[in-house]
C-alpha cells in the first residue's frame, strides 16, 4: 500500500486564509494530516509588550477582522482586572449588545461561505445580503462595519440613542425571520445534507481530550459555553440556552451556529429592553498599581478566547501578553476529524470549524515585512520595533 502526499495551501481556492496541510492519502481516503501554520505571523505578542495599554488595544483589535469585538472585549476585561477598574452597568449591557451583533455577523458569514464551498451559490448570496443588514446596524451603533473600536478600558465609547434602538429592533426582526427560513433549508435540503452529514466525524471523548472549543465542541455533545459557565459583561443577568447537538459531524456544527444566531438575536433584544441608565465610562489609571497578572475568558464566535496579561508596578505597558484564540485550539480536532474521510470532504469539514488563521498565528516576532530570511539576532529585530 503506497500512500500519496497531497499538499493543500498555503494559497488554495478552498481555503480562505493561508495555511498548509499535507495529507497522506491512500486512494481517496485521507490517512494522516499534518498542519503547517505560521503564514500570517505578525509579531503581535512581542509588539504588545512595547505599546501602552491604549495603543495595544487597537493592535489587539486587528488580530482578526471578523471577531474584533471579542478580542477587544477580552483585552479590556483582562486589563481592567489588573488595573482594578469596574465598568459601569450600562457599559456592560452595551458591550454585550455589540458582542452578540458580532457573533450574528460572523455566523452568517461562515454559513454563507459553507454554502459557497459546496457550490450552493444562491443561498450564499441570500445569506450575505441579510448579513449586510447586520453590518449596517453595527455601523450605526459603533461607527464602522468592522474594527468597531467600541470597547475601551473602563467602559464603551459611544452611547446608543432611542432611534438607534428602534432601528436595531426592526432590522433584527427581519433577520430572525430569514434565519429561520435558511435554517429549515439546512435541515431539509438533500444537497446540503449529502455534503455535510457524516462528514468530519469527531466523537465526544476525542473532542474533549483534544481541547475543542466553541461550536466544534458543542456539535459533538460537549456542553461548554463560557457565557454560561463563567459569565462576563451582562451575561449573568440574561437568560439564554446553550446549544448542543449530538450528531458529531459537520452538519451538527453548522446547525449549532444557526441556533446560536437565533439565540443571539434574542439576547440583543433582551439587552435593549433591560438596559439600565447611567454612565458609560469610568476613570482609569494610566499605570498598573502593583505587580500582578490577570486573565479574561470570553466566548468569541469561534469558541473560547483567553487573554493573559502580566504587568509590572508603575509601568504603562504590559510585561507579557498572551492570546490563545479558538481556531488554535481547534486545530488538533481538525486533524482528527479529517482522518478516515475522503479528499473531496476536506473543504466541507474544514469550513465547519470556522477557521480563522489570522487569529492563530499572532505569536512572536517574524520579519515578514521584508520577506528576507532571518539571520540576525533577535535583539536587533527587537530594536527595530521600538518607536
Amino acid at each position: 500500500m503506497t500512500s500519496v502526499k497531497i499538499v493543500i495551501g498555503p494559497v488554495h481556492p478552498a481555503l480562505h486564509e493561508p495555511e498548509r496541510f499535507v495529507f497522506k492519502v491512500d486512494g481517496e481516503v485521507v490517512v494522516d494530516v499534518e498542519p503547517r501554520l505560521g503564514y500570517v505571523h505578525r509579531g503581535i505578542e512581542k509588539a504588545l509588550s512595547e505599546r501602552t495599554f491604549v495603543q495595544g488595544l487597537y493592535l489587539i483589535e486587528r488580530i482578526c477582522g471578523i471577531c474584533n469585538v471579542a478580542h477587544t472585549l477580552t483585552a479590556v476585561q483582562a486589563i481592567e482586572s489588573v488595573l482594578d477598574v469596574e465598568p459601569p452597568k450600562r457599559a456592560r449591557y452595551l458591550r454585550t449588545i455589540v458582542h452578540e451583533l458580532n457573533r450574528i455577523h460572523s455566523h452568517l458569514l461562515i454559513l454563507g461561505v459553507a454554502c459557497e464551498l459546496i457550490g450552493f451559490d444562491t443561498l450564499f448570496m441570500l445569506i450575505w445580503r441579510d448579513r449586510e443588514a447586520v453590518m449596517d446596524i453595527v455601523e450605526m451603533i459603533t461607527g464602522n462595519r468592522v474594527m468597531s473600536a467600541y470597547n475601551v478600558i473602563g467602559g464603551v465609547r459611544r452611547n446608543i440613542s432611542d432611534h438607534e434602538v428602534s432601528e436595531t429592533k426592526k432590522a433584527l426582526n427581519t433577520i430572525a425571520e430569514r434565519v429561520k427560513e435558511y435554517k429549515k433549508v439546512f435541515m431539509e435540503d438533500p444537497t446540503i445534507r449529502a455534503r455535510f452529514v457524516d462528514v468530519g466525524r469527531l466523537s465526544r471523548p476525542k473532542a474533549l481530550a483534544l481541547g475543542a472549543v466553541g461550536p466544534t465542541a458543542r456539535g459533538s455533545g460537549v456542553k461548554i459555553d463560557v457565557r454560561a459557565e463563567e459569565p462576563y459583561a451582562a451575561f449573568d443577568e440574561i437568560a439564554f440556552n446553550v446549544i448542543v447537538y449530538d450528531e458529531e459531524d459537520s452538519w451538527a456544527r453548522l446547525m449549532v451556529r444557526w441556533d446560536e444566531t437565533l439565540e443571539s438575536i434574542r439576547i440583543v433584544e433582551e439587552c435593549l429592553d433591560k438596559m439600565p441608565t447611567g454612565p458609560i465610562r469610568g476613570r482609569v489609571p494610566m499605570v498598573a498599581p502593583q505587580n500582578s497578572e490577570g486573565f479574561s475568558v470570553t466566548e468569541a464566535p469561534r469558541g473560547e478566547l483567553i487573554h493573559h496579561i502580566y504587568v509590572k508596578e508603575g509601568d504603562d505597558k504590559p510585561l507579557r501578553y498572551r492570546v490563545r484564540t479558538p481556531t488554535y485550539a481547534n486545530i488538533p480536532s481538525v486533524c482528527e476529524m479529517l482522518k478516515g474521510g475522503y479528499v473531496a470532504d476536506i473543504p466541507a469539514a474544514l469550513v465547519s470549524i470556522d477557521p480563522c488563521f489570522s487569529c492563530t498565528d499572532r505569536v512572536a516576532l517574524v520579519d515578514a515585512r521584508t520577506g528576507e530570511k532571518i539571520s540576525i539576532d533577535i535583539y536587533t529585530l527587537a530594536r527595530r520595533y521600538k518607536k
Partner: protein
C-alpha cells in the same frame, strides 16, 4: 463551592506531597490557582483526570519570562463536573529548562508545548514531535523570541 474546593485541595496535597507549594481560591470568579513544582505536573494532571472522570478540558499554556532566572509556565484548565477554572503555575529555571511533556494525558497540549518550546526554549521531554510551529524553518537555533536579556 468553597467546601468542594477544599476537598480538591486536600486531595492534591495528599497526592503531591512536597510538590504542592500553595494555592489561592477566588470564590467570586470560581478560579483555583495552584502553585506546584515542575516535577509534580504529571502527577497533578493524573489526579485531576481521576477526580473529574476524564471531563477535563485543557485550555492553554502560557510561558512568560518575567526578567529573572526562571520562566513561569501557567496551565489553564476547566473542570466540567466541578465547573471550576484551575490555573496551575510552575517555574522552570532557565539553565535547566526541561519539563516532562503531558501530551499522553492531555492530547490537547500538543501544539501549545511546541509553541512554548520555540518561543522560550523550554524542552518538553517525551513530546512526539517537538519542532517549530510558527517560526520559519531557517530561524536560527538557540534564539528564543520571547526571552528577555
Amino acid at each position: 463551592m468553597a467546601k468542594e474546593c477544599n476537598n480538591l485541595v486536600e486531595a492534591f496535597k495528599r497526592g503531591l506531597k512536597e510538590g504542592f507549594l500553595g494555592y489561592e481560591y477566588d470564590a467570586k470568579k470560581r478560579v483555583l490557582k495552584l502553585f506546584v513544582e515542575k516535577g509534580a505536573l504529571s502527577k497533578l494532571f493524573r489526579l485531576i483526570n481521576e477526580i473529574c472522570g476524564g471531563e477535563h478540558h485543557v485550555t492553554t499554556i502560557t510561558g512568560a519570562d518575567l526578567g529573572g532566572e526562571e520562566i513561569e509556565l501557567t496551565y489553564f484548565s476547566w473542570l466540567l463536573p466541578q465547573r471550576l477554572r484551575v490555573v496551575i503555575k510552575t517555574r522552570v529555571p532557565k539553565r535547566d529548562s526541561r519539563v516532562q511533556s503531558l501530551v499522553g494525558m492531555a492530547p490537547a497540549l500538543i501544539l501549545y508545548e511546541r509553541e512554548v518550546y520555540e518561543m522560550l526554549g523550554v524542552t518538553f521531554e517525551g513530546h512526539p514531535k517537538l519542532e517549530k510551529l510558527f517560526l520559519p524553518e531557517d530561524w536560527p537555533e538557540g534564539v528564543y523570541p520571547l526571552r528577555r536579556g
